[in-house]
Symmetry: C2
Subunit: 226 residues, 2 copies
């Protein structure tokens, strides 16, 4: 019961300055390319030492929100939204529940992928998939099987033409390696990669959607109620 009480958040000046600057950016409706005041001006306006200010700026710089050039000052820039994500995606540190959440998220993405695939697939993509699954037959070694998984599913993400999605999947892979190692992957699926390619090639969207669900069933059954 007492565990529910988390320590009160004592924020440092850098924390506050970070927030204040964010507010400043959005209230002034600044957009990428606009320049910011100099460090000295900001520090004076916020009434903090340049030290503190720079700690806050350092954070924004890391996120890609601002870029600074010697003399020219600081300019706002469009951040790479996945860049910051990548920085905290450390399976070593992640708690198990979050890992499960992310695992489910991946399943959702693949289960919902059919429409995008049928919208954007090309003959070249199919050929590439066929090339990949051809190697599946001699998939005996554990390590090789995993690399096949990555190659096949990775290619599916690629076909969606959604680069953010593809990058997302790429950086999530270490997590799956972590989860998969634990269990529930010895169960063989009824629908193979090869089957999926065949359907993608000649079948329709609904057939593929069902096939994908079947392909992922071993994982789905593992999920449970919560």
């Amino acid at each position: 019961m007492i565990n529910d009480l988390t320590p009160i958040a004592t924020s440092t000046r850098a924390d506050i300055v970070e927030i204040r600057i964010r507010e400043y950016l959005s209230s002034k409706k600044l957009k990428a390319g606009d320049t910011l005041p100099t460090e000295l001006e900001l520090a004076e306006a916020l009434d903090v030492s340049r030290n503190v200010l720079r700690e806050a700026l350092s954070r924004l710089r890391m996120l890609g929100l601002i870029e600074t050039k010697k003399k020219r000052g600081m300019v706002l820039s469009a951040p790479d939204i996945l860049g910051s994500f990548e920085r905290v995606l450390n399976p070593q540190l992640m708690d198990e529940n979050t890992m499960k959440d992310i695992f489910e998220l991946r399943l959702l993405l693949e289960l919902g992928m059919a429409d995008l695939l049928y919208l954007r697939k090309t003959d070249k993509d199919i050929a590439e998939l066929e090339r990949i699954v051809k190697k599946d037959k001699n998939a005996d070694a554990e390590e090789f099987r995993i690399s096949q998984e990555i190659a096949f599913h990775g290619k599916l993400y690629e076909i969606t033409g959604n680069t953010t999605l593809k990058r997302f999947q790429t950086m999530l892979m270490p997590i799956f390696g972590f989860v998969l190692n634990k269990s529930h992957h010895s169960i063989k699926s009824e629908v193979s990669h090869s089957d999926l390619v065949q359907i993608l090639k000649t079948g329709d969207r609904d057939a593929f959607s069902k096939a994908m669900q079947e392909h992922l069933r071993p994982h789905l059954e593992f999920l449970g109620e919560r």
Copy 2:
């Protein structure tokens, strides 16, 4: 052609220190709860001023990777993976392609949601959904319609029981507001929220999956080839 050449990345000491500390953490296989050396020790070991070191630490602290208490020093902690994401999710700054990518990502999630919903839905959830859609009838004002969208789809995410997913959706909402305002939302869907609830209540997983696809068709058709 010349535009492809981006300026060479000149990294500051803080950038390098940040990387070095990350390497240190993973090479030592430190996990949440472990303590780090003091600032002075780190600064000396890395041969940088405490200033630079603190800029790097400030970043890690922002990401939730480390927590620092006065005297006790710094301890590693499990970062909130979405916290950093939230920080860069500014529609004001985001470029249009990324926004489209994220919009598609949301569609994928909802299209793939059927299994999770049928796995975890309760009678209470259904009742709640019915309560929400009851208000749909008098959905005349634009603003009200949007709040209905949010309430309904938000509840679906909630039913999945996946808190990471739910938070993800919540923080993505401003983006959708941005995209939706632009166009393609005047087209009325063939399948209403009310229909979806009915199917979720009495129908099976496949029926719901198809219905959801139908419900989202106006958006899907807007996507295009790429």
